[in-house]
Subunit: 245 residues, 2 copies
Amino acid sequence: MISKTLERRSGIAIWRQIADELRNEIATNVSVQNNRLPSETTLAKRFEVNRHTVRAALNALAKEGIVESRQGQGTFVRARKRISYPIGKRTRFSDGIGNQVQTTRGRLLNLSIDQATPEIASALYITPSSKVICLKTLSDADDMPLSRSTSWFCAKRFPDIGTAYQTTGSITKALTQCGIADYLRQSTEIEAHHATMADTEYLQLSPGAIVLVTQAINSDMEGNPIQFSTTRFAADRVSLAIINA
Amino acid sequence: MISKTLERRSGIAIWRQIADELRNEIATNVSVQNNRLPSETTLAKRFEVNRHTVRAALNALAKEGIVESRQGQGTFVRARKRISYPIGKRTRFSDGIGNQVQTTRGRLLNLSIDQATPEIASALYITPSSKVICLKTLSDADDMPLSRSTSWFCAKRFPDIGTAYQTTGSITKALTQCGIADYLRQSTEIEAHHATMADTEYLQLSPGAIVLVTQAINSDMEGNPIQFSTTRFAADRVSLAIINA
DNA sequence: GTATATTTGTTCGTATGTATT
DNA sequence: AAATACATACGAACAAATATA
């Protein structure tokens, strides 16, 4: 007999479904006593599967660095904190997570000059099909990829944003070089999706992993939008903190 | 030869990895022309898999209601909008999504009186181990489950919050009955996780699905926290909109 | 209208991976 | 460790519906 909630034919192997469930419970400290998971036989009974299957799940979690099994003792969780990424009027990447990690780094993956799509044009208050500069970047925290972004800027207003980013490795600093001393986050839209193939490659994720996708508009102090961007975070490495200042 | 980014032996069937990728591309309108997906044979060539495998992926997306295949014509995407859930100082469930759906409904799943854990106590500014009322609720939009919440209230201050919710089906109305005419969202923390077994059951999700998890604190107009809650949204049905008013 | 190409739908068989006993 | 059952993936062919020249 099989637990009702474990689905076969779902395209997700049973051991992986158990791994996902345990990862969740570890994150919320359910069924974890003294940093120790229940024994393999206990888990096998609970999920109504063979012990082999539980071992496959624990093996996967061990590879992710979440748990550690010690012969004769049991399976223990290894403490790992998510990086808290604050989102508010004054959202900035490096400042926001700066006190939680040692190093942050931004790399330019790609730069292109495109025609503004209707969506981008309406976000930036420019006429459709006017030129925009598109920056694809990858951000690391402590040499672990955290997020990848695609940002659009009005090409007329910020012709040198690309080189400015490349030399500084930071959007905020690049905007400063382009004459924007300060800016504000106008809106943020958040969704969660399964990782695409590009995500698994750039963010070093495994298939089935989750990305938090944000769409944001930043504007200058006069309220004119200057940047439209979508950012894809490795969901298991961050939590987004909304600040209602 | 196999595409590098499609991982075998990962515990996720290839057809499901392709389904995840296509779901993403449909959401961002990549590789969709005139509402039509590329043919099965071209997709099979692109992913370097057999056409059967592509068909399994499309079949899964059809079951989710995302695409529709018509013999001789092709596979078409069915328009479906996510419900936008605004998060700001004045976040309220029914008000926020009221103009996007016909009906909203809240049901009480469970009520219990517990000792406050350290986390809950510090969130509600009460002494640890004092009594709190715990409400587990399920919210529908147009008879489709959208989110499930667990909320904690100080039992001393809101002894009747449970019955008030049960009669009104709304936290806002229940708080009104308990003497809170108005309240503000103080903080919101957002994470994304794989659906747990309880999620798949209550929110009618399939294994491997995603939930957006928010932790929020609401406070009265004097700034005293009155409600601490965690909400789990079916990620494919909502997008969270952050308002920096 | 007819022939042809395109596209989805179906049925065999075979090999490999997954889960249980 | 080995045997068994089931799920997943591939390959080749053919049928049925539609589109196009």
